[in-house]
Amino acid sequence: MLTLLLLLIPLIAALICPLVGNAKVRQWAIFASLLQLAATIYALTLFKSDDANQFLIDQWWVKSLGISFKAGFDGISMLLVLLTNVLIPLILISTHSREQSYPKAFFGLILFMQFALVGVFTALDGFLFYVFWELALLPIYFICMMWGGVNRTRITLKFFIYTLTGSLLMLVALIYLYLQTPGLHTFDIDALYNLNLSAETQDWIFWALFFAFAIKIPVFPFHTWQPDTYTDAPTQGTMLLSGIMLKMGLFGMIRWMLPIVPAGIAACGETALILCVISIVYASCLALVQKDFKRLIAYSSIAHVGLIAAGILTLNVQGISGAMIQMLSHGVNVVAMFAIVDIIQRRMKTRELDELGGLAHNTPTFTILFLVILLGSVALPLTNGFVGEFLLLSGVYQFSPWMAAFAGLTVILGAVYMLRAYQKIMLGEPNVRFAEFTGLHLNEKIVLVTAVAIILFTGIYPKPLLQLAQPALDEILGHVKDIY
């Protein structure tokens, strides 16, 4: 019942958006997202970590094909739905209603995306998962196309086709798995978990699924769509992409890849892990030489999620719980960073690091908030980034010390490019155009202060979040150990 509520609130709110007037639609959207957040917190209070598949909906959808509308929560879904429903209000609050063109479409699309994202994280039927996965792609396509930068047509089309290619392989794998289920075929997740697949089958299914998720996350060398798309999309589009949508790929790895093809991961996972680790250092190196701040953060995002993906592939408990917590941390940090980019760009009309400088001199609040968020991104201890990165690196170390050493370079390189960017933007001679940097508006302050509060609180006391997901992770790891 609660699952249905959490799915329907954003959907219905999105459908109502065209009926609300242009002036009020932003308030309506924020109200709906806060309502969704309240429902999520209520679900959290009722949630028991130990039970799998809570608040279950299980209705036949297409009975003859074995497709059911099965959606429910376990620890991992709960965390990610919580992330979604906390970030969407922040994303909506970061918009500026006076300068938004076609607001009804914009806010409606964001709410529709929320519906699709909650669906992805709660789907317990393979077909339903695939439907929601593709559904999430549609609103972001329109958001990037209609409100993006100069090259938006070419870039959004590339992003769309590239991601769709990966999803196609995932569909092929899902259909194959469906056909392997005994008796009357079904897409039900429990049936898929209990398949006994031969080693060769597991290998190619692993690669098909990994290819789909690797494009979504993204992992080197399937990442080239990401910098262009993130840079050209409107701020809220980028926040949706980096904050939540890429977590779809990581979630897919945990929920739909680990328990289904564990032998495949044991056999081929090392190659995939090497790709992830290369991705980390590669993206960090590229971030060093970026001149556009938004593009720099896009590359840093590739580096961070490369580490998360590597942690998932290690198949040990530190790696995967680190991945869980880092998904949340990265979501919050990257949304906050893009909010900062937006703030700077609105006032100074540029994102080029060489053209900015000395902004710290008359913006004390912004300087401090920017620094804390940046330190969270750099994974300083006491920030949420540190908790995740520490667990991930310890997980990767158990897999292979050399890889952990290589992956650990992200800590160093991350500090270099982030602090260098901060120095170029905020420090140095007072900016000649400082008068253009007007004070922070209320909505910008809300977003940044909330982000800082989450960063520090989660960094100092991550226990509740870790405990929430622990039983679900243990169960998935149990599945993995059983089969291989």
Partner: protein
């Protein structure tokens, strides 16, 4: 340290009249901490007197419950006296020498960009910063730029965009099959007939 002391506080005043007019004692919130620290510095040494004076070693007795009884080497008494004597005499000598060099003779050190010889290495901090820049910073930046230009843009982007360009090119060729132009259809028919005749001749 005494070079610093004599140069800064003694001898002739080397600033201009404007600076001289503005010289004043530091405010209370700076001098009080300095006073406290000075007293602590003076007293601190007495926490760990050498063996020869026969006083208990206050500091190590304080830590004994934690560290336990550690085995300490006891140097001979004459060695301790000699060590103390040599260091005190050396210090007095240095005070006298630096005073005569910097106060009596009024010598001013050369500015950093004009030093010669080994002093130059010291003035540039053993060139560690430059070494670091040469080994780590510049190669890393160069590697990153190379990677961005040749691997990211030059290879991966070209492969991915190549799919698109390739498809465009292929469709550009394929569209000639259905132009709707009778003349080109007749032309293709003629080519086809020639090919068929040639094939029947060969086989």
């Amino acid at each position: 340290m005494f070079r610093l002391y004599w140069l800064t506080f003694h001898g002739e005043f080397r600033g201009d009249a404007h600076q001289k007019a503005h010289l004043h004692e530091s405010p209370v919130n700076m001098t009080i901490p300095l006073m406290v620290l000075a007293v602590l510095s003076a007293v601190g040494g007495f926490l760990g007197m050498p063996e020869v004076f026969g006083q208990p070693h206050v500091f190590s007795n304080f830590l004994k419950p934690i560290l336990g009884h550690t085995h300490t080497e006891h140097a001979s008494e004459s060695f301790e006296w000699m060590l103390m004597g040599v260091s005190v005499v050396a210090l007095l000598l240095i005070i006298f020498l630096t005073r005569s060099r910097y106060v009596s003779k009024g010598m001013v050190p050369v500015s950093d960009d004009k030093v010669q010889g080994f002093a130059r290495v010291l003035a540039n901090k053993y060139y560690v910063d430059e070494l670091y820049a040469a080994i780590f910073t510049r190669p890393l930046d160069a590697l990153s730029r190379f990677t961005y230009k040749y691997i990211e843009r030059g290879s991966i982007d070209k492969v991915v965009n190549g799919f698109g360009h390739g498809l465009n090119g292929l469709s550009g060729l394929l569209r000639y099959i259905q132009t709707g132009n009778i003349g080109s259809y007749v032309f293709s028919m003629v080519i086809g007939i020639i090919l068929l005749l040639a094939l029947t001749l060969i086989f």
